[in-house]
Symmetry: C2
């Protein structure tokens, strides 16, 4: 009985995710689901991206158990921010995103970040209607975290490694991390970067542009 | 029907947790459930504690989705280590601990750390048979993480803040973090420390000793 119930919940989620995705496509919005541990630097990555891409209309749905601190941080750089507080729920579901969409003018957005609840595990299994998932890891979190979290690495279209400005101060063997990612997912590019110093940010921005352009071309639209 | 199933699962977990706890008490083992995000420094904290308390017989149950890297690290300092790989399960349950207990000689252990799966959310709701929960946060994770994770803060008997050696390199306002903890849980002491340098470790060790002693006295035994 338990399996049956879980399957029903997931099927309902996937159906709503497909509706979300269709709405995003109609509006021409490219949607990235950012998944990473608490403190891995998801908000800092979005802030840096907002600052570096003033010509792109970017929206954010920020998921947290509690507080609207992330939305407050990002609202300095864009008017299109919705905070979702999930209470005790450890991940976003398609219904949270659906609810947040009612507070966003999709026609005024080109790129939407969904900043998932800080959790490297549970969010992986829930389709939200995004075009791609990006796994966010951080140098201070240790070089073993890709190997320990194979599901997010396999599901990601790209991996971001933040906090590279702190590499001189922590024991993080970048090659170990890169090798672990490659063994799990040979096609996802890895972007080591620092939102604080801006190092490495350009490659990430280029990838975002080309991934968004690719998604539009795939459905026969112009950028 | 969903609620019913979830209630059944939680009741079964709580019953097994009570059996675990009774076995721990019979053997005189003080059990601490360490809960923190991936990369918050749980393993480093246990390593430093093992090194600093050579006279105390310490065991470890290490939970991860995949790999036995944590067990390998801690096996350098104690023979009493069991790694549990949970696959896609985002937290330890009493049944995981029960299974691990079959690989531990409880009579040869005074203090048992259960290093939960790296996740600040899901592990909070599952009783494992521990005597107390300790929430682990890290300076590189940002000063907002206590406020964003109220449930683990409220449930913790103590809070550890790791990576204080990195405070000069990150934007972490310690007072904001301390105030957020205090607002959520006025009785849990906070231990800022660095497993790398050893700073602050002594207060944590003293608390462990007194909490373990208190637990033993409460059940009428000698230390």
């Amino acid at each position: 009985m338990k399996v049956q119930v879980v399957e029903n919940v997931l099927r309902a989620n996937d159906e709503l995710a497909a509706i979300n995705r269709a709405d995003f496509e109609r509006a021409g919005v490219f949607v990235v689901d950012l998944i990473g541990a608490p403190g891995s630097g998801k908000t800092a990555l979005i802030e840096a991206t907002l600052k570096a891409m003033p010509g792109v209309r970017i929206g954010v749905i920020a998921g947290d158990l509690a507080t609207q601190r992330d939305a407050d941080r990002m609202a300095k750089f864009t008017n299109h921010v919705v905070q979702i507080n999930t209470g005790k729920t450890c991940h976003l579901e398609a219904s949270h995103v659906r609810q947040a969409m009612s507070g966003l003018a999709l026609g005024a957005i080109d790129l939407l970040f969904i900043e998932n609840v800080g959790n490297l595990i549970c969010p992986v299994g829930f389709d939200l209607g995004q075009h791609c998932k990006v796994g966010v890891f951080n140098a201070c979190g240790g070089d073993d975290k890709a190997a320990k979290h194979p599901y997010i690495v396999r599901e990601s279209s790209a991996i971001v490694l933040t906090q590279i400005d702190l590499l001189p101060h922590v024991n993080f063997r970048q090659q170990v991390f890169m090798d672990d990612v490659k063994a799990l997912n040979g096609s996802a590019p890895v972007f080591p970067l620092s939102p604080t110093t801006g190092d490495g940010l350009e490659a990430w921005l280029k990838w975002l542009e080309s991934a968004g352009l690719g998604a539009r071309q795939a459905r026969g639209r112009q950028m």
